[in-house]
Assembly symmetry: D2
Homo-oligomer: 416 residues x 4
């Protein structure tokens, strides 16, 4: 078992600068760090995390460590690791296991190593750590105080475990916290998805026909940002209520079958598989661009794409050109992995500030309620949400009103 697994420990100094920059844009987490330094809530405990190894994650890890924890971290995606940041974290005594471009075998092995250290609390991003605990290490899982989950996909998987009665410890669905959903899934993904596409392709968004599949928080954030950049936006949905909302927002709503014929850029954000399939690809215009913003690289059917292609060549670090049998070309971004992490630097630091503040406070909440929570997927308590929102507003220099006594009374009464 290795003490760490990073690409090159000598990248640490470069990584340190990045972490400092991130910290500068994470005012809420900085405040929590100060508290944790004094309170040491995690003293004597081990925290295992499986997250994208980015400069923002680094700040969270340092906050947990300053809170007294021994921290083990593996990557939640083989392509998203920032190797310099990983190196810097090692220098800060975090046990890091991940390097950009690691194989699937390495990826899974790193998760196993984190688990082998018997974490008391786990923090997951996509569910791979928590699912591995349940499928392969139930004895370790039984002793875990609780877990926190960062993504929609992870929460779906953990809810499925709970539904089948298999969940072994309480999980806080940090992903579902309103503050997280808005800052991260909606505004963060909206911006960083477009960043990824702009970095990779360098096309003008204004006037382009952008098809967004999925109109949840992520999809609606992307649609809003794309329209904000003056694209013509088409929404594809399966849920009638979300589809109606999209239509009421003035978007065109149609089936993927229709959209396939007219789109310039396609972005998937559904959390489901095979959203863009062979039959759609064959209808697309020459030079259509495909990108995925969902957690896993399953939304664009890559096997289908390969099946109908005669040639593949790499254009740049983030773009592959597939030449189809019908002679048209399709540009696939980031191999169908999440475009905002693979082709851009992921979420802005100030987005992750809110998400990771929720993570830090939720981990502390799990500890404070040790033994009181049965195995179940819980919402983040409203008080933690409000606390983070308040700190964020403060950091933005915004003051808001408070209810007067008279108004409080009015809201509580039905007499008017």
């Amino acid at each position: 078992m290795e003490e760490y697994f990073v690409k090159d420990i000598n990248l640490a100094s470069e990584g340190k600068k990045k972490i400092q920059w991130a910290e500068a844009h994470m005012p809420v987490l900085s405040l929590i760090r100060e508290k944790f330094k004094q309170e040491k809530p995690f003293d004597g405990l081990t925290i295992g995390a499986c997250m994208h190894i980015t400069k923002e994650t680094a700040v969270l890890m340092l906050v947990l460590k300053d809170g007294g924890a021994e921290v083990y971290l593996s990557a939640s995606n083989p392509l998203s690791t920032q190797d310099d940041v990983a190196a810097a974290l090692v220098k800060h005594d975090i046990h890091v296991y991940g390097k950009r471009g690691e194989s699937i075998e390495e990826y899974n092995k790193m998760i196993d190593i984190v688990i082998s250290h018997k974490p008391d609390i786990v923090i997951d991003d996509g569910g791979d750590l928590i699912v591995a605990l349940h499928e392969k290490y139930s004895e370790i899982a039984k002793n875990i105080i609780g877990g926190c989950e960062e993504t929609t996909t992870g929460v779906i998987r953990e809810r499925a475990l709970a539904k089948e009665g298999k969940l072994l410890f309480p999980v806080i669905a940090v992903n579902d916290a309103l503050v997280k959903r808005l800052m991260d899934n909606k505004y963060g993904s909206g911006q960083s998805t477009l960043e990824g596409i702009m970095n990779a392709t360098h096309v003008l968004l204004s006037g382009k026909i952008i098809v967004v599949a999925g109109f949840g928080y992520v999809g609606s954030g992307i649609a809003s940002a794309a329209r904000g950049m003056k694209a013509r936006v088409i929404v594809v949905e399966v849920d009638p209520i979300k589809a109606l909302i999209a239509a009421l927002e003035g978007y065109e709503v149609m089936t993927m079958d229709k959209a396939a014929e007219i789109g310039d850029i396609f972005i998937t954000a559904t959390g489901n598989i095979n959203i863009i399939r062979k039959e759609h690809m064959l209808k697309m215009k020459d030079r259509a661009i495909l990108a995925n913003s969902g957690h896993f690289n399953v939304e664009i059917n890559l096997n289908d794409l390969k099946d109908i292609s005669t040639k593949v060549r790499r254009i740049n670090y983030c773009v592959e050109e597939y030449t189809l049998k019908n002679g048209r070309r399709i540009y696939l971004l980031g191999e169908g992995r999440l475009v905002n992490l693979v082709c851009a630097a992921g979420h802005p630091s100030d987005v992750m500030d809110a998400s990771f503040a929720l993570q830090a406070l939720s981990a502390k909440f799990l500890l404070e309620n040790k033994g009181k929570l049965s195995p179940y997927v819980y919402d983040v308590p409203i008080e933690i949400n409000e606390e983070v929102a308040k700190l964020k507003l403060e950091s933005m220099g915004i003051q808001i009103d408070t209810l007067t006594e008279e108004q409080k009374k009015y809201l509580e009464s039905y007499k008017i």
Copy 2:
């Protein structure tokens, strides 16, 4: 006891035309009407309603009647009744009690009359009917199968009753249904509030500084529409999470104290009292405009306004000019009552189509579950929400995708 109470029965023919026009823009309700005509779900039952007497309400009343019910209707606001529609409804054998400009005494008496007919199901808009039932007619209330509530304010009041253990029958919070909230509270109020202000004042919205107090569905709809018309929008909130959302949407967020000094137009949409008070009014610029979009005329403190004024004069049917002691003028719209109903014709018909389709199906649901629901405020079942969304999309000519078998399986499983 009178059989009906309307301003002038001779207005019926004018009212009929209006109802036809509304019907033409309520395709979902029209479809439900066809079903109800055959099924007669309410045969032998009495339905009591307290709603704004508008052409759209008229269509709902006719749907219920075609479903077999005997219908009694009183106004839910003394100033919102369309007298010609009221007259036309009488001709269609609906028992109507309401005329525009009725006194508070008359208003309350009309509610009492509706109750006196011992309704089996009640439909309320603001809670006055349901609260009266609990405060004054508990014997009648005990026999009621259930109620449906249209507004945020009403739901707050009925939840307060439930919390105190006083609620006597189940209530469906139609107001809270996502489809209703979006179409009605958000998009409907957004448009009709601006309509009311434009009708009353005839000012250009572009470039105006519009202060919106409250960033719930109604407030955020108003803010979005106002920005869409190129106003500079300031949001005032007490809830840190809503305030954060407003800030992330790019709105200026500040206290009313600060906003009072710079706003051109102030719109309240909080569901709370005394949002705009003496101390704010005294800071306002000359010719500031005040409007309310909340259910009750309590959000702008009218006593305060009178206290600090030396003169009041009426500019037109919807605008009063208050001259303050400091020499500045404040224009109050619709006497502080909800500006979209008093100064414009309320929600567009196609908005009410969705809300009232939910009402009709929820009333039927109450009946189908008679005896199974304990006294409590219930959400509209998701199936009814989806049904209405689907019918609405169809009426808009929009087709959406459905999950493939493979996708359904994927969503249900945690294995990837």
Copy 3:
């Protein structure tokens, strides 16, 4: 020859209130009025005007009168006169000739009467007065110092006169002034066109498919406002540059032939004839709504509409229902006349403030340059534009920067 021609002189007191309200929202014109009262620039002169007789026009007329002029005013549209305002103007010693619903014969006769008073300066809105002067009264025209034109249509007609060498006096194209175009054609028409449609039809704009024909100032203003209200907007154009701009703004751009099949609401704003023709109408969906925002009622081919219809009935003051031979219905607003004036109260007062400030200062400019300007259609001098913009900003409480000496020098030099 009559001294005035209005519907009912007793409506004057109602009209006075309206004029006061308009004045309150026309701060720039009010300032100019104060100056004119002292300077009396038009002393001894006669001004003839052919304009929409609205409360804002009334304020301009009073400014000219306070500047010393004898003022004669006829209506520039048989359906746009506000009769109470007309009556009030008579009481203020303006010679008014116009009543809502006057016949075409009356309309033309009123223009003749204005001309018969041998105006020194003319102010026109659409070109009917100036064209009549050239076609029928060239002897009077020869003595005119100059004219000011308010609309795109009028400027086109007067340019055509100039091109043919027939123009007899200089004309200032007030319409073309950037400040006017923006406030009036773009933002003013954007808002008031939607007001007209909302007043007439009471439909929700959110989610509607709105087809805008013409993407000049008026059309782009309507498109922007419609999108701001969350409609899905389609633009129809013949000019490739304007079409490209629309596409780059993210609008769908297509031919009327295609748009006809999918639109819910059609708005023409081209300044040209027969934009919506038989072949388009026959493709439209049931209950399509047609409105015109161009100056003349020629953009929707009314003869075509009548030809293909089997029945017409009036729904309300602003909507007629045409039942086509194919069984579908088309709703025509305001008989195809400009929907913002016929179905709403025209431009907001603060819009007209800018336009009419330009008119007043341009009329004065004509006088100051009497004899120096050959017959030609002139732009409003940039100094007048800037003057009005400055006054308007001041009235909005906005302060802007001024160039430093260093910056002025830099801009004038090519050395860097």
Copy 4:
């Protein structure tokens, strides 16, 4: 005299791929290239260009070469050269002189080399080539057929030359072409400026207070994109008309003095000097970000910034941190040079497609009108504008209407 001057000729293969990708997104220029290959309009002529050496410029150079010209190219900015593209161009027989990070001396020397080859036609981007020709090489300048200018700054400088009667050959202000201004200055700069800021700083734009100085095409494009990304946008202007437009678009408008206190990110786009000065910097919040989108690095006063700082350190390739005497930090992007080129890859290829199509057709126009045009700064002929707009629409798959005969006649006539 060297045949070329690039960083490393071995980078050519990487550069070739980039050029291919650009070509794929420049459909209009590709079409023109096909024509030029056959027509060879520039046979026997020399073209000298001073432009940003990017993959898009490369495509234009190849189009000119395929049109028969011998092409000499130097960089128009010491920091904007893409070294691999420069290398690839050399392999394509273009004479290239430029490498990223060249000194000012090298920069000027490279321009001299281009001039020494006695170009028949010049293409400039900022005016450095044309000004050098007039200041140092008037004998060569006298024989030049004409020039094309790409930027606002260049046009200002050449107009200054013309005004002083010093201009020696006709110049086409390609920059001023409406199609160029929109695609390039407005939409292109809007997107790429934000790209530069996002790349460099990785901050969330949503909720940030972004101050845009200058509301011309570039500034208004930035403001629109920033609002589209949900920032709160403040506009600073000196021109009352532009300021009024900004206010009517709903932006906050104020002086830089006021804006300095509240902004998070400041972007200059004025074409003038010293927009952000010492007195503003001292008022800024800790961690304010400064970026420039104007052509020259003169808009942010760098001397002032150095004067008031105690420490400077580099955060990353595009960010320097200045610590002020008051303890606060200011982040300067790209050393105050244009942020979209220095911190991002400049304009999207499809933007440059339009600009460079105008360049190619304007160069041909100069040749066709050799001897007919006196030394003056000319607009791009409307026919060339329309031609490019048409080709661009075609490439976007958009069909538009054409005027009917009847409509043409109507527009030409003043009779209605």
